[in-house]
């Protein structure tokens, strides 16, 4: 097969990254014959969720005016140029009841877990399915990867986990089911392999590898089937979860073969970049590449683990994020928190800009995404789970109008908003998390 488009080595670019010149993925690096080029005429709707930890400073976040005349608040300033593709949402609460016999804490573990599930996590490991995974079941089945989960912090990064709760809760926002949290990948190289394979250049070798994997998965299915007969009921139900994983990977391999997804011949990213901004940009680039190549249409991304104690000396905040988010109304600390919020939004805005300038079908990638950006608490100081800071960025294929500040009635459950979002993606379900019924996004 002749592939004429010249592919630029990622390593060349990463060397530049090491030199603190953060280059984005260049168009030249996208190999020829990606799914996009073959099906460019049909734009697809993509979903994204970007999570930021430890709440925000509401006074700096929310515009005071409602509707189309809203003013760009200080925290949202970096998104000003995308105003027509920006829906600011306020008034949503996430206070689902705790599991029977447990207390309501509204702490950090609750914030991240509820963000896409609107379910209060339990002491024993249990929450609820998240909307990205509901979408992955529906719109994700046509792509090589149903969904992609990314993050910037690992559990080893020195951050603590919430009091007496599993670190799972603060480390993910994606749940395939009530007892199936999905791990978030923070290593760009590994994420790259998930998207494009392990870089086996030779097509024949790749096919052989796919065959070997398929036969392993085949026999794993038999093995689990046999095991299920001999284990206890709870283990059996866990095993069916594993079986689901086996099927999922099988599907994925078949699709990779069917779509003949080119595994790019450039080197995958090596290691984790030195700085937060470089790391964030690289992870956003991977999302951009995933959308563009139609490798997946569902991405979740945590810019920090909930409860994150990351320091941001590069923007003049050498303090750990979590402690200063309990700012006790100290103006200095509040200003620093607002600076972190602004910083996160500005890095996100660079990604949005890239989406805006990337042609996709009859418009741009930005026209065909809906990215939910936000936090699981409004004010970090009091862990306030009401009036959550949430944005929807992107044209959503014309299904969600931007340029507005949509203020819901006080007390509207977050899950009602989830229901309506799902509806815009063509997924109609009656109930999700703590929902009482859909809301109007018009």
């Amino acid at each position: 097969m002749m592939i004429t488009k010249k592919v630029l080595s990622r390593r060349t670019v990463l060397r530049s990254l090491g030199a603190a010149i953060p280059l984005p993925f260049l168009d030249a690096m996208v190999p020829a014959l990606t799914a996009l080029q073959r099906t460019a005429a049909q734009p697809r709707l993509r979903f994204g969720a970007v999570y930021v930890p430890n709440g925000v400073i509401p006074s700096q976040w929310f515009p005071s005016a409602e509707g189309t005349a809203f003013e760009m608040s200080p925290s949202l300033k970096p998104l000003e140029r995308f105003r027509d593709r920006l829906l600011v949402v306020s008034g949503l609460d996430s206070v689902p009841p705790p599991p029977p016999g447990e207390r309501q804490y509204n702490n950090h573990a609750d914030a991240s877990t509820r963000f896409l599930t609107d379910v209060t996590p339990s002491r024993s490991l249990r929450a609820g399915v998240s909307i990205d995974q509901i979408l992955a079941k529906h719109v994700g089945q046509d792509t090589a990867l149903p969904s992609l989960e990314l993050a910037l912090e690992s559990v080893d990064s020195g951050s603590s986990c919430d009091f007496g709760r599993s670190c799972v809760y603060t480390g993910t926002i994606s749940w395939a089911g009530p007892t199936s949290p999905l791990p978030m990948e923070h290593d760009p190289g590994a994420a790259f392999v998930r998207l494009f394979g392990d870089g086996t250049a030779d097509a024949q070798a790749r096919q052989a590898r796919a065959r070997q994997k398929s036969s392993i998965l085949d026999s794993l299915r038999d093995e689990v089937g046999r095991l299920q007969a001999s284990v206890s009921a709870p283990d059996r139900s866990r095993l069916s979860g594993y079986l689901e994983s086996v099927r999922d990977v099988e599907r994925r391999i078949q699709k990779a073969v069917a779509f003949n997804v080119e595994e790019p011949s450039f080197d995958r990213p090596a290691g984790i970049p030195d700085t937060f901004a470089q790391h964030a940009r690289l992870m956003f680039d991977l999302q951009w590449l995933a959308y563009q190549g139609d490798v997946t249409r569902v991405v979740t991304f945590m810019m920090g683990r909930e409860f994150s104690g990351r320091t941001y000396p590069e923007i003049g905040v050498p303090d750990a994020h979590h402690p200063i988010s309990h700012h006790q109304r100290d103006p200095v600390r509040m200003e620093k928190c607002a600076r972190i919020n602004h910083y996160h939004v500005s890095l996100f805005a660079e990604f949005v800009e890239k989406l805006r300038t990337t042609p996709d079908g009859d418009g741009s990638l930005l026209d065909h995404v809906a990215i939910v950006y936000g936090a699981g608490m409004s004010e970090g100081n009091g862990h306030v789970p009401e009036n959550l800071p949430i944005l929807v960025v992107g044209g959503a294929g014309g299904r969600i109008a931007g340029g507005r500040h949509l203020k819901f009635t006080k007390g509207t459950p977050l899950a009602n908003f989830h229901l309506s979002l799902l509806d815009r993606f063509g997924v109609r379900i009656d109930q999700h998390g703590n929902s009482t019924g859909p809301v109007s996004l018009d």
Partner: protein, 825 residues
């Protein structure tokens, strides 16, 4: 051992009637409140509750959601969950709360003893060992298992996804989920490992590249580890797995400063590349810059002459050498030859701040940024590795396809069966079933047909490593009623032991004993525990258990604020971690009492750490044991690891430290803070600013806050003489440090010595907590009230030895939760 519930209740009722409380061991405690006669236990307890508890915990107030006045709840044996909670609160002095009437110690002692006895007796009659269910191997366990099974060293953090922790440990079954992303990683890892293990010649077909980076904040002015030669400076040493015997290329990249100039190029320096300590090449680098230099720091658009610029950007371009290396694990190192440019023995101030930022960048010392190993190149072959010796036990040489005819093929198949049966037995921790062997041999056949005998074995190993039998610990349950207790099969016990003590799979000795059904015999088990503790693999107790409990692992990710602590660098972080690790190792090796972790009068330091701690007479990079008689540094409470991970980046956090002591050492974690935390008052009513301590004292006056802070704060304040990176200080922000306060039980706590004394005074709580933590780690599940009797028994049994490590480990291995399982209900 299991008693059906209905029977159990009857037996318990009998026990209640037959074993009068007052006749128990505490009868000698004597009369209470002037009563002439000992009341019956029921009356005694009821009176206690109504006097000291029911004021708040009644049906009307239900403080903390709890009423104790319901007569139906009065029997501890029937309501163990409730009474374990009450017992914990009362025996640790948390209840009755401060400023409420307190029972006299004799009465309290009797109540605690009696309730404890009732609960323990009840637990023996109705044992509930708990269950954790299928248990996925975590990253560490997987890496160790692969090491022990195949002799392959892998970087698990690169190959596998991170594991999330719960209750402080990353081996808790319920938090070890499996997702498609995990499975994909396992598939990739299995292929990589199996190919490395057999020395798959096709590994040589594509160039492999591994880059090892040196942390930016690691100062390279001294010898940096035991794997580096004496007289060396800086650099790094890595244990690299060479897949094949062949030629490899080694490339060294030097450290750059922020504007991408290579650091330390002002003079020539020698740089050695070594393999297993043997020098492969000595490079000379630096000192050849010509032309007008550019400014060392940012100075607009000014740059140096072109030759200067080129040299400063590319002086390390030729630091590359090729060498023939045999397959297997070798230590590769790159380090400078230490040529002192100042007299030795004269302590120089640490380079910090602007000095580190600019002054040394041209004239100072060059440093290694990364080492890359590429290859193999040209005619690579499998070679003779430990892995191959482990795997290819039948002495069949490498044959090309079809060579030797059908007779040879049959011989190979027999050999493959022997190899795979042996490996599967260890990988699955039990003899493989016929079906499992058929699966593996199927993969062998397919691989062997396509690419020969060894490829067949590789393919079968690849399949073995993604088997759920390898990736998961799944225990066989007997066909018994739901919720029934049973003794775990010996093979499952072997796995429990090896994952607890070694974080790895059982060895041949354990498997053989288990197959003969002897492992569970107490004498055999005790002997095996001792053997296992002497084995090098038991270091996982230090890294896995103590490393997580004491924050050594967490210290890896902590980054103190460079503006406040410019002297903090990677060397100091490593020194902290090394100190705590060596200290715990020494405690286990000497089989000390676990209380000695708090009270020991020694530690391990090198020159850097000694300077940091203000200790004299220690020079050089070697860590050595030092006796500490100042009452400041002894034990974990004076160690940088603990003090740093319980601080904020820019300052100490007494609340965090206090919480840590309560949670990790005393087992009394305060509940999470309420959602709506009142703001700290930073100024007085008339506008004067308040010190942090004064703010916190005001905060404590609010009843909602005081209930927890009244206990956390004094413990945290006692460590205030240590700053956020563990340095001793007398003042903070110009104000003398006040490290004294009073615990709610009236005990004054003054400084770290006071805190040590406080913990020793409450060593029952400390020991109980230590055992709970270790039992959590040993079982890989959350503990609950049902495990409390077992913990108390382990504590009691270890008391005879003065709570030595070995006694506690043995007690856990012999305990009901460790030896038994419960069928699902």
């Amino acid at each position: 051992m299991h008693v059906h519930f209905a029977h159990g209740a009857a037996v318990v009722a009998l026990a209640w009637a037959g074993l009068a409380w007052g006749a128990g061991p505490s009868a000698s405690l004597g009369a209470v409140g002037g009563a002439g006669q000992q009341p019956s236990p029921e009356v005694d307890l009821r009176a206690f509750v109504s006097t000291y508890c029911a004021g708040c915990h009644n049906d009307r107030l239900r403080t903390g959601g709890l009423s104790l006045t319901d007569p139906a709840l009065a029997d501890p044996a029937s309501h163990p969950e409730l009474w374990e909670k009450v017992l914990h609160k009362v025996s640790t002095g948390q209840m009755p709360p401060p400023r409420q009437a307190r029972p006299d110690p004799a009465l309290l002692g009797r109540i605690v003893t009696n309730v404890t006895n009732t609960l323990d007796r009840n637990a023996e009659l109705r044992s509930d060992p708990g269950r954790s269910g299928a248990h996925r191997l975590n990253r560490t366990e997987y890496g160790n298992a692969v090491r022990d099974l195949l002799g392959v060293t892998i970087d698990t953090s690169a190959l596998l996804l991170q594991d999330e922790a719960d209750d402080g440990f990353d081996n808790i079954a319920s938090s070890l989920a499996l997702s498609p992303a995990h499975l994909e990683r396992y598939l990739t890892a299995a292929r990589e490992i199996s190919r490395l293990a057999v020395g798959d010649p096709s590994l040589g077909e594509s160039t492999r590249s591994a880059t090892y980076r040196v942390p930016r904040l690691l100062e390279q002015d001294v010898r940096l580890g035991d794997d580096l030669p004496f007289g060396s400076r800086g650099g790094l040493a890595v244990r690299h797995q060479f897949p094949l015997t062949g030629e490899y290329a080694f490339k060294i990249r030097l450290r750059r400063q922020v504007y991408d100039y290579i650091v330390g190029m002002g003079r020539a320096q020698d740089l050695d590349l070594r393999i297993d300590g043997k020098r492969v090449k000595r490079f000379r680098v630096g000192g050849e810059a010509t032309g007008t230099p550019g400014p060392q720091t940012w100075n607009g658009e000014i740059v140096g002459d072109t030759p200067y610029e080129l040299y400063l950007h590319a002086a390390d371009a030729g630091l590359e050498v090729r060498a023939q290396v045999t397959a297997g694990v070798h230590v590769v190192s790159a380090s400078f030859v230490d040529t002192p440019w100042e007299p030795e023995g004269v302590a120089q101030p640490l380079a910090v701040d602007f000095g580190r930022g600019s002054d040394e960048q041209f004239d100072g010392l060059a440093a290694v940024d990364a080492l890359t190993v590429n290859g193999p190149y040209r005619g690579a072959s499998a070679g003779d590795t430990a892995s191959r010796r482990l795997i290819f036990s039948c002495g069949l040489g490498r044959r090309s396809l079809g060579e030797g005819g059908p007779a040879a093929a049959a011989e190979e198949a027999r050999c493959a069966r022997r190899i795979l049966t042996r490996l599967a037995r260890r990988a699955y921790r039990r003899p493989p079933t016929a079906e499992e062997m058929a699966t593996l041999l199927g993969f062998y056949d397919a691989g062997a047909k396509a690419r020969g005998f060894e490829a067949g074995v590789q393919s079968a190993i690849e399949r073995m490593l993604v088997s759920f039998n390898f990736l998961f610990r799944i225990e066989r349950e007997p066909a018994a009623a739901a919720g029934a207790s049973y003794r775990v099969a010996d093979l499952d016990l072997a796995s429990r032991l090896s994952f607890f003590l070694w974080n790895s799979i059982p060895d041949e000795t354990l498997l053989a004993l288990a197959e003969r059904n002897q492992l569970h015999e107490p004498a055999v088990l005790t002997q095996q525990v001792s053997r296992m503790l002497r084995d090098a693999r038991a270091s996982s107790l230090v890294t896995g258990f103590a490393g997580q409990w004491l924050g050594v692992r967490k210290a890896q990710g902590v980054l103190p604020d460079p503006n406040v602590f410019p002297e903090f660098d990677e060397n100091l972080r490593r020194a902290f971690q090394r100190e705590t690790t060596m200290f715990v190792e020494s405690q286990i090796a000497a089989d000390r009492s676990i209380v000695d972790l708090i009270t020991a009068d020694y530690s391990f330091v090198n020159e850097r750490l000694a300077q940091h701690y203000g200790l004299r007479g220690v020079s050089g990079e070697r860590f050595r044991r030092v006796t500490l008689s100042d009452g400041i540094r002894g034990g974990i409470l004076g160690q940088g690891t603990v003090l740093m991970v319980t601080s904020y980046p820019d300052r100490t956090a007494p609340v965090v430290r206090g919480f840590w002591v309560l949670e990790s050492l005393l087992g009394m974690p305060p509940p999470p803070p309420p959602p709506d935390i009142p703001d700290l008052k930073t100024v007085t009513e008339d506008g004067r600013p308040l010190s942090m301590r004064a703010q916190m004292e005001r905060h404590r006056q609010s009843p909602a806050c005081s209930v927890c802070h009244v206990r956390m704060d004094p413990l945290g304040f006692s460590l205030e003489n240590f700053d956020a990176i563990g340095r001793w200080r007398q003042t903070s922000g110009g104000i003398p440090v006040d490290a004294s306060s009073v615990f709610p039980d009236g005990t004054p706590i003054d400084g770290v010595a006071g805190l040590r004394a406080f913990i020793v005074k409450h060593q029952d709580s400390y020991i109980h907590t230590f055992v709970s933590k270790m039992l959590t780690y040993a079982l890989g599940r959350q503990l609950d009230y049902r495990d409390q009797p077992a913990i108390r028994r382990i504590v009691r049994d270890a008391a005879a030895s003065g709570h030595r490590w070995s006694a506690i480990v043995r007690g856990i291995a012999l305990s009901t939760p460790f030896q038994m399982g419960r069928t699902a209900s």
